[in-house]
């Protein structure tokens, strides 16, 4: 038997070993996944990927041009749809809604939407666009991605605008500026970095999303710019190629993973820089 004092000390010792070990587990998996993505991806990276379209099964050529272009178009359309909605909704919540019951309700629903599984959003886009139009389309994929962006942009805009000091608005109003000018020229500018961070985070979130695209934008073996037709995109191509038995397809999946990860890492680094620059000034 050991004494109470010794036992307390022992438990503390063990916990002091286990807690850093927990942190080590987290970092270990991060390093493992990043290492695998970079080593497999770099060895599969070649110029052909950006020049040719995805090859048909059974051939050993390389190419993902249609997927890269398709992903950029899907994300671009999602931004055009999602950013104005999220920005204006967040603005209303912070500038007009305040703590009114209605605004609190919208915030609550938005927070739930923020963590809704992305596959449900895909089902929604399928139900409202693909099913009535009777065919898969790029635009339905963009609507799904936009719906994933909107809650993030709304929430960050709301929070960042609420941090802007009331003095600023009051000074502008006292000078005779109408409310829309106060918002667009004063508060949006004051919260610019925070709002931009929210948009970048939303962009990072949707860049790797696969589930909602599986039954909206689907995939397309050919190069396509038509928003009303299925469109190739990086995540779905990675999914399809990784599950395939062909060696060159699996290699291309890794190259796609590397490019997706680099894009997302870049976005999160930039968003952090933007936010830090914003907070350093104020």
């Amino acid at each position: 038997m050991i004494g109470l004092y010794a036992r307390r000390k022992l438990v503390d010792r063990i916990s002091r070993v286990l807690m850093p070990f927990a942190a080590f587990i987290g970092l270990f998996f991060l390093a493992w996944i990043l290492w695998i993505s970079f080593s497999h991806g770099l060895s599969a990276l070649r110029w052909d990927l950006f020049v040719n379209d995805t090859p048909p099964p059974g051939t050993d050529s390389y190419g993902m041009r249609n997927a890269f272009v398709g992903s950029l178009i899907l994300i671009g359309m999602a931004m055009l749809l999602g950013i104005p909605v999220g920005l204006l909704a967040g603005t209303w919540l912070a500038e007009y809604g305040g703590q009114r019951r209605l605004a609190r309700g919208v915030r609550f629903l938005n927070d739930i939407m923020l963590s809704a599984p992305s596959i449900e959003i895909g089902l929604f886009a399928y139900a409202i666009l693909v099913d009535p139009l009777k065919h898969f389309s790029a635009i339905s994929g963009s609507v799904a991605l936009a719906m994933l962006m909107i809650p993030i942009v709304t929430r960050t805009t709301d929070e960042m605008l609420a941090l802007v000091h009331a003095d600023m608005r009051e000074s502008a109003v006292a000078l005779g500026a109408p409310m829309w000018k106060v918002i667009s020229k004063i508060t949006w500018k004051a919260a610019r970095n925070g709002i931009l961070t929210g948009i970048l985070i939303a962009l990072a979130r949707i860049s790797g999303e696969t589930a909602p695209l599986l039954f909206t934008a689907l995939n397309n073996q050919y190069f396509s710019l038509d928003p009303l037709r299925p469109m190739a995109n990086l995540p779905v191509v990675i999914f399809q190629f990784a599950m395939s038995p062909y060696a060159n397809w699996q290699k291309m999946a890794w190259a796609g993973v590397l490019i997706a990860i680099c894009f997302i890492l870049l976005l999160s680094i930039v968003s952090r820089l933007v936010l830090n620059r914003g907070t350093a000034k104020s």
């Binding site: 987290g26 209303w92 809704a116 596959i119 089902l123 609420a162 997706a260």
Partner: protein, 333 residues
């Protein structure tokens, strides 16, 4: 978390009431437009969730009409005979998520305490950022890594699991099975890594919020770091910690791509965690574009509706727990 509570009441109310009287006529028209445009967008955002629920429910009406609630406890899933039931996928979803939570919660707690209490100041931020980075990695990358790298490595460990955990009385059958690498347990482990950053972030935030006076009093009485973590910090933040765990659970339940890669995609219920299974999101992802009959498609959407119901419930619980933390009586020194 919600910082808007600090300055919004006076700013929102005062300015909104003050401006129309001062504005010039054309300013007033613009104001009207801007205000209602923004209000309309806010209304749209509020309606998105309800619209999503309604659209999914509407598209699953055929299956709801055919199978009713019996859908939930039938494990028959046969596209050829047109018999569909959710049970095996429901079990797969719940079991894989349960494994993930069992593994992720203690590790998240360890990381959060490490960051808030133990780590040298210089290391706090880098470790936080690195763990958050786990959340930035797309789920398809977890899937690819899980299938092609982790599963083969895990298959090497599985004979050991068979020999040691598989012989234990009671829980033994859970750990007996062929060393395939993929299966329910693998899915649970990959899920655990994926939800780790979400739970850790919430735990860390609330642990840091624990009043220093409380912790210092305990240290002053001679408590060890472990005792302060276990008896002071954890009880103080209990509801928020539970909320964070539920938030992570919500993520785990709805996770699609990573699971689809590693769970094995077999719609059978087996006693062993090493055997392949399927979850609701994985079966939707796998079979949606192959669904040939309207009833098949509608049943897949019905599965989506069931999943949405579960995640909504879990999310509401999380919101309630996190809210009661914010409202909790502040302890003053």
């Amino acid at each position: 978390m919600n910082v808007s509570g600090i300055s919004a009441p006076e700013s929102g109310g005062l300015v909104a009431n003050a401006s129309p009287a001062i504005a010039r006529p054309n300013g007033r028209a613009m104001d009207f437009c801007f205000r209602h445009l923004a209000g309309g967008m806010a209304a749209l955002v509020g309606l998105l969730l309800i619209a999503t629920l309604a659209a999914i429910a509407w598209d699953s009406r055929l299956s709801i009409h055919t199978f009713g609630f019996g859908f939930l406890w039938s494990s028959e899933w046969n596209p050829v005979t047109g018999q569909f039931g959710a049970l095996s996928f429901l079990v797969g979803t719940l079991v894989s998520s349960a494994i993930a939570m069992l593994l992720a919660t203690p590790v998240s707690f360890g990381i959060a305490i490490f960051i808030s209490e133990l780590a040298p100041r210089r290391l706090k931020q880098p470790i936080s950022s690195a763990v958050e980075l786990l959340a930035a990695i797309p789920s398809i990358v977890y899937g690819l890594w899980g299938l092609l790298v982790f599963a083969p490595a895990f298959a090497q460990v599985e004979p050991w699991i068979n020999d040691h955990l598989g012989t234990l009385p009671g829980i033994g059958p859970l750990f007996q099975g062929p060393p395939m690498g993929i299966g329910m347990l693998t899915a649970g482990i990959v899920l655990a890594i994926m939800v780790l950053p979400f739970i850790t972030a919430i735990m860390r935030d609330v642990f840091i919020m624990t009043p220093a006076a409380l912790k210092e009093s305990a240290y002053g009485l001679g408590c060890t770091t472990w005792e302060v973590s276990r008896r002071i910090i954890l009880p103080y933040t209990r509801s928020a910690v539970t909320g964070g765990i539920f938030l992570g659970l919500g993520r785990a339940l709805g996770e699609t791509m990573a699971i689809t890669f590693v769970i094995g995609n077999s719609n059978t219920i087996s006693a062993s965690l090493l055997m392949p299974g399927a979850s609701i999101p994985s079966v939707i992802a796998n079979e949606f574009t192959e669904a040939t009959t309207p009833l098949y498609l509608s049943s897949l959407i019905y599965l989506g509706l069931v999943l949405f119901g579960i995640t909504l419930l879990v999310r509401l619980l999380a919101a309630w727990m996190l809210h009661s933390m914010k409202r909790g009586t502040p302890l003053r020194p």
